[in-house]
């Protein structure tokens, strides 16, 4: 029977499959960070259990770490405690660990691929919803809760009911100025934040094939914002080139054998998808979110919606409420929305390609006087590379703050937050109420669009940028 890539990876990982019970799946890679792991390790300790496969477990600190001088003491007590706790747990349970001062430190979803831990065909879990990022390599990667984290630590298995298959086929080519971020915002705008619920999305089609690994990660990262359990893209030469030569990647003949296997994972012709959505890439433009969920998006040359023109009463109320929170009048041109802060970072858009693209936009220009702008690289390695390429200079000269790696203002667990009423253009993935700080207002955009907005002080159409 013709199988999807997801079916194949699932089948390869079944440890126990009994009728009437959820499947027990083997986990190849367990990523761990400081926020959701403390009680899981404590659980192991209380039950006198060990981590079954420390060699398949990789931890780092990202959510709480300061993005300013790390030699200074951390002022927030709970942040400090969570970081210290992971330090100790990693030592005690002998798992791979990139601490706050390590060259391998970074956002967990950035360093997995960077170090070569993330590979096609793997089942990857982490106590974090954006684990979907790793699906860009043709892996089944999903976020789990703390009790499941403990379960995986102890058993290296995950108890799961199999989700359904969904295909999002992106035909044609992305026009000039339209990025992977715009593509995923457009997809969520079309299928809605619940459009992927209960499904694993496989992204296919010409526009997906032409994306770099960074772009593919951006797309898969936000699968979760579409409600999907996971997102995946079939591995190809772009994937193999990326994986080759990384610290944890297979070497020489092993690598060749792995590539052979990875190639066999692609969805068979005629395999069944429970749901299929087609998108025409050539019709897309740069997008900006105007509301309080990632499905509330508009083209940069469009307007903020007018709730009075909507027929669906639920939608009308939702739009009204969102506009109120965002302090936006109906029919405001997107380009007239003024900004207080610009954040370039997060596991969605903080890779070297993102930073290069943003630097290209701001080169030789100055950040608008009313705007506070910052760049937070996704990892220590990316930061170093950017500095070698002189990107930090470009950003600094333009008036951006250049920070240490971490989640930073994506969720505001460290001191990088929006003040009540402040408005940001952010390259992150969630624009929920208060996500970047209580009362803060977030507009999701691509790195290029964020960079241009920082210079102009309001949104601009990157396609017209000079």
């Amino acid at each position: 029977m013709a199988k999807t890539m997801f079916d194949k990876i699932w089948d390869e990982h079944v440890v126990i499959d009994e009728i009437g019970k959820p499947t027990v799946l083997y986990v190849d890679l367990h990523l761990v960070h400081e926020v959701t792991s403390a009680q899981a390790f404590e659980g192991l300790r209380m039950a006198n259990r060990k981590v079954r496969r420390p060699d398949l477990t990789v931890a780092t600190v990202d959510h709480n770490v300061p993005t300013t001088d790390r030699t200074l003491p951390i002022t927030d007590e709970i942040s400090k405690k969570q970081i210290d706790t992971l330090d100790n747990n990693a030592k005690e349970f002998e798992i791979n660990y990139f601490d706050m001062f390590s060259q391998g430190q970074g956002i967990v979803h950035v360093i997995g691929p960077e170090q070569g831990y993330t590979q096609p065909g793997k089942v990857i879990v982490c106590g974090d919803s954006h684990t979907s990022t790793h699906g860009a390599f043709g892996a089944f990667a999903l976020g789990i809760g703390t009790s499941e984290v403990e379960h995986v630590l102890a058993t290296q298995c995950l108890v799961q009911k199999k989700p359904k298959n969904m295909e999002v086929k992106v035909n044609g080519a992305l026009p000039f100025g339209v990025t992977a971020k715009d593509l995923i915002l457009a997809i969520i705008g079309q299928i809605g934040v619940g459009g992927g619920v209960g499904h694993v999305i496989e992204y296919t089609g010409e526009a997906i094939r032409s994306l770099s690994m960074a772009g593919r990660m951006t797309v898969c990262n936000m699968s979760i914002e579409a409600g999907a359990r996971a997102g995946m893209i079939a591995p190809d030469e772009t994937t193999f080139d990326f994986v080759k030569g990384r610290p944890q990647s297979p070497r020489d003949e092993d690598f060749d054998a792995a590539v052979e296997h990875w190639k066999s994972l692609s969805t068979d012709p005629g395999a069944h998808f429970d749901k299929v959505v087609e998108i025409d890439a050539s019709k897309l433009s740069p997008y900006v979110s105007w509301g309080t969920n990632p499905g509330m998006v508009a083209s940069v040359d469009g307007l903020v919606p007018d709730p009075t023109t909507l027929d669906n009463p639920d939608e009308k109320v939702a739009v009204q409420r969102a506009l109120e929170y965002m302090d936006l009048a109906p029919n405001t041109p997107i380009k007239e929305i003024k900004l207080d802060k610009v954040f370039i970072g997060s596991c969605t858009n903080s890779r070297i390609e993102d930073l290069r693209a943003a630097a290209e936009v701001v080169k030789g220009k100055k950040v608008n006087a009313d705007v506070n702008a910052m760049v937070v690289p996704g990892s220590f390695t990316i930061k170093l590379q950017a500095e070698q390429e002189g990107l930090d200079e470009i950003f600094r000269e333009a008036g951006f703050e250049w920070r240490e790696a971490g989640c930073s203002m994506c969720l505001g667990m460290n001191p990088d937050i929006l003040m009540p009423g402040e408005r940001s253009a952010s390259t992150s993935n969630r624009n929920f109420e208060g996500r970047q700080g209580p009362g803060g207002r977030t507009h999701l955009v691509s790195p290029e669009m964020a960079a241009a907005a920082a210079i102009a002080g309001h949104f601009v159409d990157i396609r017209e940028w000079k």
């Binding site: 440890v15 126990i16 027990v24 083997y26 403390a38 009680q39 404590e42 659980g43 209380m46 039950a47 259990r49 079954r52 709970i78 405690k81 969570q82 706790t85 009790s147 403990e150 379960h151 102890a154 058993t155 290296q156 298995c157 108890v159």
Partner: protein, 197 residues
């Protein structure tokens, strides 16, 4: 998880209904990074366990001298209602309670108890009243024995009360199996998988 087979301990009576998870442990006390250590916050909201100066309130039932070191709690209807947070059973367990007996429980709390190696027992109101009176009337601590193998509560004074519990859950407790324990029952299958991959 420790197996739960048989336990003899002091019985404490809490003659209140609808004790909810916020009363069991107030939200401000959830910020620990462990599951343990929540016992100090058990029933710590104003007007319950502690006086404003932080000393134990002698009028709060659990502070009775005869209840000190109790491991069995007898309470009123709908115990553990409210949130799904496991901090509630964690706090009770950390304080010392391994068995909670009530005429009815909130569903989620009931399940959370089993996840943490605790035994919630549903008894008729008549039996609850009987147990509470014995606990309240004792000066040196009224002890009872909970036998999960035979599903009985007895007190050495001639009292024996049978109780019912879910077979699957009972089996897990007797063997000390939580969900992790259950998966590990098939450890051979995990090892076989690991060897062949």
């Amino acid at each position: 998880m420790e197996p739960f087979v048989k336990l003899t301990g002091v019985v404490a009576a809490m003659d209140r209904e609808n004790v909810d998870t916020d009363q069991i442990i107030p939200a401000v006390n959830l910020k620990r990074i462990e599951r343990t250590g929540f016992g100090q916050f058990l029933f710590s909201q104003p007007g319950w366990r502690f006086l404003p100066d932080g000393s134990p309130d002698p009028d709060f039932e659990l502070n009775k001298p005869s209840y000190q070191g109790a491991s069995i709690l007898v309470a009123g209807h709908n115990f553990g209602s409210g949130s799904s947070r496991e901090h509630a059973p964690w706090a009770l367990l950390d304080y010392g309670f391994k068995v909670i007996i009530a005429p009815s429980f909130a569903d989620i709390f009931y399940n959370n108890c089993f996840q943490n190696g605790m035994l919630p027992i549903v008894l008729s109101e008549a039996n609850i009243k009987n147990l509470m009176e014995k606990a309240q009337g004792s000066y040196e601590g009224y002890e009872a024995t909970i036998d999960l193998q035979n599903c009985t509560i007895s007190d050495g004074q001639g009292l024996t009360i049978p109780f019912e519990t879910d077979d699957f859950r009972r089996d897990c407790l007797l063997k000390g199996l939580d969900d992790i324990g259950l998966t590990l029952q098939n450890e051979d299958k995990i090892s076989i998988y690991e060897k062949s991959h």
